[in-house]
């Protein structure tokens, strides 16, 4: 995008069916032609500043409030950063429980995005604004919406049974988990999850059918740049040990690095026109993180349904899914993967032993990266006098995706916008592009 815009702007405000408040500005050059478009985060809370002086072990409960969508991942990343600072090893069973909670939240978050945010765009593309939403869908596809919302509730109930409140689960604490669920709670969770197997399969078929029918998907511009995901043994994982990067242009060439090296390569590039601070990682610009990047990395093991569906998608649309709108399919496949993974982890046997390891804060800094539903999420903290927080840093998925999003948005605006007339169809098309990046503004600006 050009650096300077000196002519008129068009504004789409607010961007709807996303988390948080943002707008899109379409910018014009002095000759009256569209020169680009940009997505702007309009809110900020200053969370990194607010935690200064808190006892460090209490920080995770506060920073989990960075985001209502991936609060558990903020809490987890904060706990892991503290564990790094304390050189503490989480007990094996607690680590298994944490991973299960992560997958349950993946499932709930993805299905909520699908149901409330993205599905109306694909299922009711030509409908009036008043109808193009979940209630409009409910009028014509009651069973499908009942199935999807039922699956959301099952993921929610399973997560609550294991870890407390569904949005900000209290059970994830520094050193492990505050308590181990008893066998009955685990059984109930597995039962709830198994009860919607049919709904998950039907939702995948519905998504595939809608994608096939929608010409916009392949008409949209291919993304260029790189993808980054957290992996464990080559498999995308919310709690991995390696950051794996690959370029859209050469997907067979992967670069693997440690979380510390990845952090070292991050450059912050603040802009004056948004409260969101974009970041770049090394030379890989622009960067994509999140479900589509993970789907493109490929699933290696133990989730046959997700594996089968990802193979089918590739057969139909190509080895590299490089259009932003494929995110819709990526969300659905990953929700299925989350369902399989959580059942598999919870079926490994009862959770026994110590929930949390003793944590003695000895180091002065700690950093951790997790792969949240929306993509890579990083927390770094420094300890001050009396083990209180002296500095805190959060880098969230939208900050990584910012440049890729704006590049796609600019291409979309160049194609769709002609003159200063902005009708529902044009704004709808640009907003659809934004939704394809799962933006979470509160998380991004924190």
């Amino acid at each position: 995008m050009p650096d300077e815009f000196d002519a008129e702007k068009l504004r789409i405000y607010p961007v709807t069916r996303i988390d948080g408040r943002a707008d899109i500005e379409v910018l014009f050059a002095s000759d009256g032609k569209v020169s680009g478009a940009r997505f702007r985060g309009l809110e900020v809370r200053g969370l990194e500043h607010l935690v200064h002086g808190l006892p460090a072990l209490r920080a995770p409960q506060v920073v989990s409030r960075a985001c209502g969508a991936c609060g558990p991942f903020h809490q987890l990343a904060s706990c892991m950063a503290l564990e790094k600072a304390a050189d503490c090893v989480v007990p094996e069973q607690a680590a298994r429980l944490r991973e299960a909670v992560c997958w349950l939240n993946y499932g709930a978050d993805h299905l909520m995005n699908i149901t409330y945010h993205e599905l109306p765009d694909y299922a009711l593309p030509m409908s009036a604004v008043a109808v193009r939403n979940v209630t409009g869908m409910y009028m014509v596809q009651q069973e499908a919406i009942a199935g999807l919302t039922g699956a959301i509730c099952a993921f929610r109930d399973a997560a609550s049974a294991l870890a407390g409140m569904p949005v900000h689960p209290s059970a994830i604490v520094p050193g492990g988990v505050a308590s181990m669920p008893d066998e009955r709670a685990v059984e109930r969770a597995v039962e709830a999850l198994k009860s919607f197997e049919g709904d998950i399969r039907e939702a995948i078929r519905l998504s595939e059918m809608l994608m096939k029918r929608d010409a916009k998907v392949m008409d949209s511009f291919p993304m260029q740049g790189s993808m980054a995901v957290l992996t464990s043994g080559g498999d995308p994982s919310p709690i991995g040990d390696t950051v794996t990067m690959k370029a859209f242009a050469s997907p067979s060439d992967t670069v693997e690095m440690t979380p510390d090296d990845f952090y070292s390569s991050i450059v912050k590039e603040p802009v004056t026109w948004s409260y969101l601070v974009p970041v770049a990682a090394g030379d890989s610009r622009p960067l994509l993180v999140g479900p589509l990047a993970r789907l493109n990395t490929g699933f290696v093991v133990d989730t046959p349904l997700a594996r089968l569906e990802s193979d089918r998608v590739r057969e139909q649309w190509g080895e590299v899914l490089d259009r932003p709108l494929f995110n819709f399919m990526a969300l659905m496949i990953e929700a299925a993967r989350a369902w399989e993974k959580s059942i598999s982890l919870l079926s490994e046997g009862p959770f026994v032993g110590e929930g949390a390891a003793r944590i003695e804060l000895s180091g002065s800094t700690g950093m951790a990266i997790v792969d949240s539903p929306r993509g890579l999420l990083l927390h770094k903290l420094k300890l001050g006098k009396g083990s209180t927080i002296s500095s805190y840093e959060i880098i969230s998925p939208l900050q990584f995706n910012h440049d890729m999003l704006n590049e796609s948005l600019s291409k979309g605006a160049l194609e769709a916008v002609d003159g200063l007339d902005m009708d529902d169809a044009i704004s709808g098309r640009l907003e659809l592009l934004v939704r394809s990046f799962n933006p979470c503004v509160p998380c991004g600006t924190h």
């Binding site: 709807t16 709930a108 909520m112 409330y116 604004v129 939403n133 604490v173 505050a178 409260y275 949390a356």
Partner: protein, 283 residues
């Protein structure tokens, strides 16, 4: 009926909590009309509504305008979540000048120095505190107001809903939010600073049931609010001292370290700030 939802300065968790109620919510909204909702419909402006669920506090000039517009155009407003009710986490501290005085030249909303709860800038009819309030609590409250009744108000504390039992004896205070306490023993007795005794219930003690302390997200209990003699800090000190069998001053000295942590959610609450004996941390 026309129902609207709006999220101002917040993490979005309250809207998520509402959406997690699933089909009952979708059915309810289908029977009525959604006037505006950033999460659900593509309307780009505030329109007149019978009921608005408003989450989040006010931290910038845009949120101030939105709050006032909602106030002008709505019959009933329900403040949802502790940010809306008390100022919440964004109200924990004032932002530094470099944040509040930067970046407004390109049409970005101007940041206010302090986050303020919604009823500081608009009329609120009902309050549902929590971070976030449990999904069923928000939906049930919405149903009640639709039927013309006020939402159910929990008058007990989190302690009253918690199944753990207090034990007498000296307390060894720990920073950790929950580890090493037996499943049936009170977390406060185990040395964790649990705010259950002074926090409004209605959450079924979900955090303490999973071994983690209550951090006071539902705000001060009725007893704490009932008179100038009470505050979250002084009431908790008194309770902990009587449980431990020691003088208030001894506990008060130990708990000073956690003062900021006791007002994570209610620091900007005007009632809390008016307490003469209140010990609210300075900025």
């Amino acid at each position: 009926m026309y129902i609207g939802t709006i999220s101002l300065c917040s993490c979005g968790g309250c809207e998520r909590s509402l959406l997690m109620t699933g089909e009952p919510l979708v059915a309810l909204l289908s029977e009525n009309n959604i006037s505006f909702s950033g999460q659900l419909v593509d309307r780009h402006s505030i329109s007149p509504s019978d009921i608005v669920l408003a989450a989040g506090c006010v931290r910038n000039s845009e949120e101030m305008e939105l709050a006032r517009e909602v106030s002008r155009t709505s019959r009933k407003v329900i403040a949802v979540g502790s940010c809306a009710v008390f100022g919440g986490i964004p109200g924990m501290a004032a932002l530094p000048d470099e944040m509040t005085q930067a970046g407004t030249d390109e049409g970005l909303p101007e940041l206010l120095t302090e986050a303020v709860p919604l009823d500081s800038v608009m009329d609120i009819d009902y309050y549902i505190p929590g971070c976030p309030p449990p999904p069923a609590l928000i939906l049930d409250s919405l149903k009640s107001v639709l039927e013309g009744y006020p939402p159910t108000r929990s008058e007990v504390t989190v302690c009253a809903e918690c199944r753990r039992r207090a034990e007498r004896g000296e307390i060894e205070w720990r920073d950790h939010p929950g580890e090493g306490v037996a499943p049936d023993v009170c977390l406060l007795s185990g040395g964790h600073l649990c705010l259950g005794p002074v926090t409004r219930g209605g959450c079924h003690a979900a955090c303490t049931a999973h071994g983690s302390i209550c951090i006071g997200c539902r705000g001060p209990s009725d007893v704490v609010l009932s008179s100038q003699m009470h505050s979250m800090f002084s009431d908790l000190v008194r309770y902990a001292a009587s449980t431990a069998g020691v003088r208030d001053e001894k506990v008060e000295k130990k708990l000073q370290r956690y003062l900021k942590h006791m007002y994570l959610f209610a620091r900007r609450d005007p009632v809390t700030r008016r307490r003469p004996r209140e010990k609210v941390p300075a900025d």
